[in-house]
Assembly symmetry: C2
Homo-oligomer: 315 residues x 2
DNA sequence: AAAATTTAAGTTACCGGTAACTTTTTTGAT
DNA sequence: ATCAAAAAAGTTACCGGTAACTTAAATTTT
């Protein structure tokens, strides 16, 4: 007991004892078993469960980095969950991670299985849903309106005079943010009298090469497309590379728009038409809100980090 | 006790009781507290601590993905540690994560603080050091010989007739793998009678833009450089973009070599001179070995995943 | 120097699951 | 129906840290 007091520096011991205890700790190479502390006090651990769809999609690596950097600085640990965009995976991960008594959770996306929702409600753990904005989150939410960002892009492209639109992404899931962007884009096109003539959902990760071969597929399926909106910048850059290889002039023959403003954009000889999003900020803000909530603070449940359309030279 | 038996399906209960227990579990939304199980049995948890330097460096995201995918499929959870290439950060993370009784650890790099080594030895937890090959690992090791890969690149560039060499990276740490590559490269140049006229270590992450402005800095500091070896492909691609913007012909005016074969390479109109490394495989293999060891198997301590030099068109 | 007060150190019980053991109930054999 | 064996259910104790409490030692006050 006295040793416990010394190690937690909570007073009630003499200097002589302190020295003796610390010497013994040193000698034994003693490390406290934190499980016992959490277990005993019916407290929470310092684990924060963080689920993201996958690391192949670069946008999420930036989000994760923002989260972890913030968490570490407040002595919390990230327990990673890669759900592969599959809600059932998320559900089983939620169950596992809750059984470890986490201090809080960060989940990507607003869609969850009924059982996951039930588990989360039962656990009553502080929770931030990130990425997609959700006006009535389970607990808190940090993200942006993906539908609106797609809509704005659609309207912008219409204003440039395009009539025949294409889309290439990798999402199958109806419940995810990229699909919301596609829906916003489609709605804008419909509202503006254009036609979304071809949309492609590849079974792949949204990276450079899928952008390359996705463009090939799209154009061979419908050569009349005038402009294509991609799931993210890396795909759009892949598309630009395909066009250059095929001597398709941009934006003369084909317009190209990305999403997310990823690092590659900073070294291109052209300015990519895209939507700027501060991925790192989403992660940091989510972690910040979670830590404040764990600390007992009451917070605005929803934070909209917004987005900025970048006109660029590729349309 | 009977409920515990039912939930673990270890027999010694009647069908009638099983149904009753499961119904009650359902009704209460009961979730076992796994901390108690681990704590009670003096067993290990299903946590695997995974430390990587940072997520801004794309190579590590692939390694991490490989690790987590494998771990998840064997019901283990990744507890992330981002050490920012700082050994003191790794040390404090090791201490924290060990106090949570992990089933195993994966650490990036072979250099650790004395105290970290002592903690690891004391804990006796299965451990894989990844990335840099280490003939006498603490426990196990999965990686490749970075020095050799740098040496081979240097020799290859010499064979192309280059005399004045440059290097651009972002590492300050003498103990990391990128530095080992630089040393190998420098050694090859020395052995072959060339001159490493300029080497640059930027205070940044090894991404596209640092490759861009790093090349600018390098060339303005020493315009006589004939070929530059970059810390990774993303930096090399940034360099190519800089050269194109400046009308510096590749490989006519300047040779460029990358390392790691990152995804961007697949969509470029040229074949980048680089070193191919299977990042995902390193992660998967490390996780695999760790899980086998946790399972009690005795394994070959060191796994060399090797590398392949890709000649490319940029030198 | 004795009593009152403060400080230091020690005891007990608990968190939740489960190993090891004991008791109760059921099943089957004679 | 009686007893033995097997199956099911229940009890106890423990893991390691710490809250809450008690006891002991040191310090201060009268």
């Amino acid at each position: 007991m006295t040793a416990s007091r010394v190690l937690r520096d909570e007073g009630g011991f003499s200097e002589k004892t302190r020295v003796k205890v610390l010497a013994e700790v040193e000698r034994l190479g003693y490390l406290p078993n934190r499980l016992a502390t959490v277990f005993a006090g019916d407290k929470k651990s310092t684990f924060i469960g963080v689920s993201i769809p996958d690391l192949g999609n670069e946008v999420f690596t930036h989000v994760l980095e923002g989260i972890d950097r913030k968490l570490v600085s407040f002595n919390h640990q990230t327990v990673l969950g890669m759900t592969q965009h599959v809600l059932a995976e998320e559900e089983s991960w939620v169950e596992t991670v809750l059984s470890w008594q986490p201090a809080g959770l960060i989940l990507t996306g607003r869609a969850h299985t009924p059982r996951a929702l039930q588990l989360l409600a039962g656990a009553g753990v502080p929770l931030v849903e990130i990425w997609d904005l959700n006006s009535s989150p389970i607990d808190m939410c940090v993200g942006l309106n993906h539908f609106d960002s797609g809509y704005d892009m659609g309207r912008f492209l219409l204003s440039k005079g395009y009539q025949r639109f294409g889309y290439v992404g990798t999402s199958h899931d109806t419940a995810n943010a990229a699909t919301a962007r596609l829906h916003g884009y489609a709605k804008a096109i419909e509202d503006g009298g254009g036609r979304l003539t071809k949309q492609l959902c590849l079974n792949d990760i949204p990276g450079f090469y899928p952008g390359y071969y996705g463009t090939e597929q799209l154009l061979s399926a419908d050569p009349s497309v005038e402009v294509v909106f991609f799931q993210n910048d890396n795909m759009a850059v892949g598309a630009v590379q395909f066009c250059e290889a095929q001597k398709i002039s941009i934006p003369g023959d084909l317009g190209i728009a990305g999403w997310g403003e990823l690092p590659i954009a900073s070294v291109l000889p052209y300015r990519l038409t895209t939507v700027q999003v501060n991925h790192l900020r989403i992660g940091q803000l989510a972690a910040e809100k979670l830590l404040l909530r764990i600390n007992g603070d009451l917070l605005e449940p929803v934070s909209d980090v917004g987005f900025t359309l970048v006109a660029g030279d590729t349309v």
